[in-house]
């Protein structure tokens, strides 16, 4: 029913090519207070041309994961394969090449632009580093990029403080695009912006994706925005991925109790709907990633927690085609005949 004409061929294409493979990736931070397991064992693929959304609450490890994929952090364990090249084993020279293909857009448009550099210098830096153009060509390229992101060519000599938050985020996007990447990690690119400006930036990101055949990893905590922009969505909780599926499917049929609660927690801008809604309100707070609960990380807040959840790590399984979940409720070995009827 969901297969419209437009989606069918696109989906087929995407199936064939995997751009990025993340395999058992772990990132631990050693602090004086103990080891913070920010990302503990995540595995997934990103296909060419798709947008994979990552949602989760603060501290769930989504930003750390994005940064570890780009090797802004070294992985503690596991591997990231970009077009079959191992990002974390690449030599300095290979890594520089990879950096051209993999870029990042940061959350805070105020902190991520050097206040003492002009816009031309900020965008030009990447062009110089990779020796992509020089002289008049370089300037033309920068102006072209500015136009592309909806700014004016004459902005080239201005400084970041002369721009609003939304415009700064556009500069950040132009900088990422300067090296013609294939893959961009967007780390909460709109969280710092006002509602009316958020939509401008989101529309720009989708336009650019169509024009330049980009692949995005889109990290955010705003679930409705993530649904809007993503083909597939992964839900993270305390360093692990709880559920991963096509976005329509995930929002229509959430399988993991955490996804269910998360979706029910978002207030919907429609008073009629809000009045009728039964909200699942989770108890308590997210436990510390320094000392995550045994077994399933979510069990301390899960309304369905059972004996086995404290003892056994739930396995990552494909419960329906392309719909993955890590929860004992869907495990036949544990639930036996009680296994949750999959909607």
């Amino acid at each position: 029913m969901k297969l419209t004409l437009r989606e069918a061929p696109a989906k087929k294409d995407k199936k064939q090519d995997t751009l990025l493979q993340v395999r058992n990736l772990k990132k631990y931070f050693h602090t004086s207070g103990g080891t913070v397991k920010a990302v503990s064992d995540v595995t997934f693929d990103i296909k060419v041309g798709e947008t994979l959304g990552i949602v989760g609450e603060s501290g769930c490890g989504k930003s750390t994961m994005g940064r570890t994929i780009l090797r802004l952090y070294d992985a503690t364990e596991g591997e990231v394969l970009f077009e079959d090249k191992n990002v974390h084993k690449a030599s300095t020279r290979e890594l520089k090449k990879l950096r051209r293909d993999m870029q990042m857009i940061f959350q805070d448009p105020y902190a991520s632009l050097n206040p003492r550099m002009t816009i031309g210098e900020i965008i030009g830096e990447a062009i110089d580093l990779h020796k992509l153009a020089s002289g008049a060509k370089r300037k033309a390229r920068i102006q072209e990029l500015l136009t592309l992101v909806g700014l004016k060519p004459e902005h080239i000599n201005r400084f970041p403080h002369e721009f609003s938050g939304g415009q700064r985020q556009r500069i950040g996007i132009a900088r990422a695009l300067a090296v013609e990447p294939k893959f961009i990690v967007c780390d909460e690119p709109i969280s710092a912006l006002d509602v009316s400006i958020q939509a401008q930036v989101i529309n720009l990101l989708s336009d650019l994706q169509d024009k330049m055949e980009l692949t995005y990893l889109f990290i955010a905590h705003d679930l409705s925005m993530v649904k809007h922009i993503s083909d597939r969505v992964a839900v993270m909780y305390l360093g692990k991925i709880a559920e991963l599926s096509e976005s329509e499917e995930l929002y229509a049929n959430p399988l993991h109790p955490y996804t269910e609660a998360l979706l029910s927690a978002i207030p919907i801008p429609d008073p009629e709907v809000e009045r009728k809604r039964q909200r699942i309100v989770l108890k308590g707070d997210v436990p510390s990633p320094m000392n995550p609960p045994s077994g399933c990380h979510f069990r301390t807040r899960c309304p369905y927690a059972m004996e086995s959840c404290t003892k056994i790590d739930p396995v990552w399984q494909e419960v329906k085609p392309d719909h993955f979940v890590a929860c004992h409720l869907y495990n036949k070995d544990i639930m036996g005949a009680d296994v949750r009827k999959i909607r």
Binding site: V195, H228, A265, I266, P267, P269, P271, V281, D285
Partner: protein, 334 residues
């Protein structure tokens, strides 16, 4: 229903080196007993300034209350001295701030921060107040309240701190609770807890709430009536249903269309509002939304529209509703 708060023609300016920033420019609204009013708008639209002016928390100078009145239970707060205000703050009007970490005192045990107002306003003894504080912490859903009362804010999580702040704000059973972006710093699942708690407590105590937010979802969930602010003015005001289902101001309409909804089809482009809000150092003469409005007419540039009654206490400040603009309005009505 009787009005607990009436804001009339309020003008607030800040005197800065760059000049006079006219943050609030003639706003009117009222809050009835037991109702929840939402003030929405983008950053810099004057919503927080309005909220803080009710408590008179803005330092003068640089702040200047230029004109207007804030009537709380019939008395003009702007005419009150600092001493008189201290009797009202925390007693008749409670406030919850956006950032629970910076608004709690880090060097004071949480329990004492609650007892402070009980002792001062209600004349309780330290012992009585401490008991009451534990009772309040229990009411806002903090486990082990007797132990928690003796802890410092840094020992609390974000959601718990916000609960503690609600306990402080509600300690003296205020008639009005002002919540300035109470859940913006919190995660969605914690936000759901706090909003649920505020609703429960309102049902119990019958307090009126002003909730300031930019999240239209929170408004739909919590509010009876809504005030939409833009560039220091009220663009539109009405019941939550009027605002969401029959928006009469292009800004309100734009705001509603620019947020994605879970029931929207994927790939359906969002309809952003072009441009950015005006600079309030030099506010425009005409309609402040003129430069970003797709329905703008010549009159909007030079003449400021007044709030007009649309029926059923629904008001909007827009020239489209003038009889002479009837042909222009057709496009908007769709």
């Amino acid at each position: 229903m009787e009005n607990i708060l009436e804001v009339r023609d309020l003008h607030i300016s800040f005197h800065t080196y760059a000049g006079e920033v006219k943050a609030v420019r003639g706003i009117n609204f009222e809050v009835k007993k037991g109702e929840t009013v939402g003030i929405v708008g983008e950053s810099g639209c004057g919503k927080s300034v309005t909220a803080q002016s009710i408590m008179k928390l803005l330092p003068q100078p640089p702040t200047q209350y230029k004109q207007g009145s804030i009537l709380f239970s019939g008395q003009d707060l702007l005419k009150k001295s600092e001493k008189e205000m201290q009797k009202i703050r925390g007693n008749d009007i409670g406030m919850i701030f956006q950032d629970p970490m910076t608004s709690l005192n880090p060097t004071m045990k949480t329990g004492r921060q609650i007892t402070e107002s009980l002792i001062k306003h209600q004349g309780m003894s330290a012992g009585e107040a401490h008991k009451q504080a534990i009772e309040l912490l229990k009411m806002v859903g903090i486990p082990q309240p007797d132990k928690r009362a003796n802890q410092y804010p840094h020992e609390f999580s974000g959601g718990m701190r916000q609960r503690a702040m609600i306990a402080i704000a509600l300690a003296c059973r205020p008639k009005l609770l002002i919540a300035d972006e109470p859940t913006t710093a919190l995660d969605v699942t914690i936000q759901a807890q706090i909003l649920e708690l505020m609703k429960e407590l309102q049902a119990k105590t019958g307090t009126s709430i002003i909730i300031i937010t930019h999240d239209l979802g929170v408004v739909a969930d919590m509010c009876d009536r809504v005030v939409v602010m833009y560039a220091g003015e009220v663009a539109e005001t009405g019941t939550v249903d009027q605002i969401f289902y029959q928006p009469q101001h292009p800004y309100t309409k734009g705001l509603l269309k620019s947020v994605p909804r879970l029931d929207m089809r994927r790939n359906e482009p969002l309809a952003p509002i072009i441009g950015t809000p005006p600079d309030l150092l030099h506010p425009p003469v005409g309609c402040p939304f003129f430069a970003r409005c797709e329905y703008a007419m010549e009159v909007c540039r030079s003449h400021k529209p007044e709030l007009e009654e649309m029926g059923g206490n629904h008001q909007a400040a827009c020239w489209l509703h003038h009889p002479l603009a009837s042909n222009r309005k057709e496009g908007f009505a769709q």
